[in-house]
Amino acid sequence: MTEPLLEVTGLTKRFGGLTAVDDVSLALGAGEIVSLIGPNGSGKTTFFHCVTGFYRPDAGSVRLRNGGEAQELVGRPAHVIRAMGVARTFQTREIFGEMSLMDCMLLGRHTRTSTGLLGTVFMPRRSRREDDLAREHAAKIFSIFPGRFGPERWAEPAESLSFANRCRLEIAIGLMSDPKLLMLDEPAAGMNPNERAELMETLRQIRDLGYTLLVVEHNMRVVLGISDRLIVLDRGRKIADGDPEEVFKDPVVTTAYLGDDYDVA
């Protein structure tokens, strides 16, 4: 990996006496799926919040390569980081309640559209044209999820979706902003085995379209099924980084998950 897409160095976040993310450095190459795993409370979600601007880290840097140049993300607000090319989902499936699926998708396109207050009042035609283009784009993104978001559902409120479909919608909304990096927080939570298999297929498809994915996931079948690389956090520190099969055999990792008196063999 010569030029990483995202390069995190020495990222640290403290809450009082607790160091939730402790000097984490990692790099993501363009076009790979990397899973971030670790026991509960190991700092995965905090790491997500730090990278995407929801928390301000106490130390460290996060650099995203944009074209040829790497740009610092730390210190920028969340909405700017989204516009710069990092989209994310939430563990808690944050969607826009009563808004229709299509409106949610258009919101995903917010950073790639430009109509402002004066534009919408004085140039309604231009505003509508921009929305129509965004709707066409949404239709393309929806087609990545066959059978889930057919046109007959576009007017339905997002809150009518099942938990699994909310997750799919969050991913679809993320893709609407043409992100360089898509960060998913527990996408398979609440899914049955069939849905998980479908999700894995979808994530691989998204990677093949050229996106880079960083996934926090607890389900090890999903992790092994999709990951090109695996990074393990424990108590805020990075303890392993590499090929999934090898990482799983690493005694440091099994100790973190299962305790040190567990016999791997």
Partner: protein, 338 residues
């Protein structure tokens, strides 16, 4: 980069009926019907001054409630400073024209711009807060304004109020009669509602609704929530100031009682009963509110009690407001026809 979105087989957008996601075709018809009804209203009531007067009051209520609806309805910011903006607009305009001999148009602009600037400052302070805290901070501003209207005697004349405010005048034309004022007000309300409608169904309106439904997710999709909340405050301030100026020069008398706490409650009721974020519903609620309070006068002391019962029934029948009730009725009607 550009090739990645081409790869999945695109669903042709025209494969779906456009009405599926816009559902807006009946909006134009509804608006046209409402406009026609409003235009013929003076003739229907036989040009009685009293009815026209009530009509103008209702239109002013629409204007005021519409601004409030943008802030608490669309963007979900439960701010309580709206009547203060209304009052500032009314006093600024009345004093500029009456004491400052300023042409009405200039006073009107000042009555829009000053509350907008105030709203900007309040938004700066309020944007960090939500829910009851936001309500308290903005209500503090309302209280300060209310006290100033009463006690800044040199300027506002205190409880005696400002009398003999000149009528709305553009150039040489003065809007003296209720009929003239009615049509002027109707034009302004129609343009205001059109502007609000365009905002609602646009990128800006979606950002407002996104903030209302989920501020965290709104940030995550790249919405500058601080900016859009500030914009919502400023828009509501501008509409309130506009309504204040028109009110002052139509009634031609203002005193602090017009800008009290009850006014704020009236507005809250109109927006909630109309349906938060629903332009048509809130407009209808404003009209019904003004007219029902007038027409329940025969009940004398029972008036407010009956009104309260009607309110409870209304909210029980349709908690999302009259707007969604109308939508459901329209859908049922549409299904029966097809």
């Amino acid at each position: 980069m550009s090739s990645r979105t081409e790869t999945p087989s695109p669903t042709r957008p025209d494969a779906a009926s456009p009405a599926v996601w816009s559902g807006q075709r009946w909006h134009a018809w509804g608006a046209a019907a409402a406009l026609v009804a409003a235009v013929v209203f003076p003739g229907v009531v036989g040009f009685q001054d009293y009815m026209l007067f009530t009509g103008v009051t209702a239109l002013a209520a629409i204007l005021l409630a519409n601004g409030y609806n943008i802030l608490i309805g669309m963007s979900g910011q439960f701010a309580m400073a709206h009547v203060a903006f209304f009052g500032v607009g009314a006093y600024v305009s009345a004093l500029l024209v009456r004491n400052g001999q300023v042409p009405y148009l200039i006073a009107l602009l000042a009555a829009i711009i000053l509350p907008t600037i105030l709203a900007w400052f309040i938004a700066r302070a309020a944007v960090k807060f939500a829910g009851p805290y936001l309500a308290m901070i903005t209500f503090a501003f309302h209280s300060i304004a209310a006290v100033l209207f009463i006690n800044w005697d040199a300027l506002t004349n205190g409880w005696r109020g400002i009398t003999r405010i000149p009528p709305i005048t553009f150039g040489d034309f003065a809007f003296n009669t209720p009929l003239e004022s009615y049509y002027l007000m109707l034009g302004i309300v129609a343009v205001s509602l059109l502007i609000t409608y365009r905002i609602k169904y646009s990128r800006v309106g979606r950002a407002f609704f996104a903030i209302r439904h989920n501020r965290l997710a709104a940030k995550a999709v790249g919405i500058n929530t601080t900016y859009y909340i500030t914009v919502a405050f400023c828009l509501s301030g501008a509409f309130a100031g506009l309504a204040g100026s028109l009110h002052a020069h139509f009634i031609r008398y203002i005193d602090p009682s017009t800008f009290g706490f009850t006014r704020l409650i009236d507005l809250l009721i109109i927006v909630i009963v109309g349906g938060r974020g629903n332009i048509l519903g809130v407009s209808l609620a404003a009209i019904l509110y003004v007219f029902s309070l007038e027409y329940l006068r025969f009940l004398q002391d029972w008036r407010l009690m009956v009104f309260g019962v009607l309110l409870i029934i209304m909210i029980s029948v349709s908690p999302d407001g009259m707007g969604s009730l109308l939508k459901r009725l329209a859908q049922r009607f549409g299904e029966r026809r097809s």
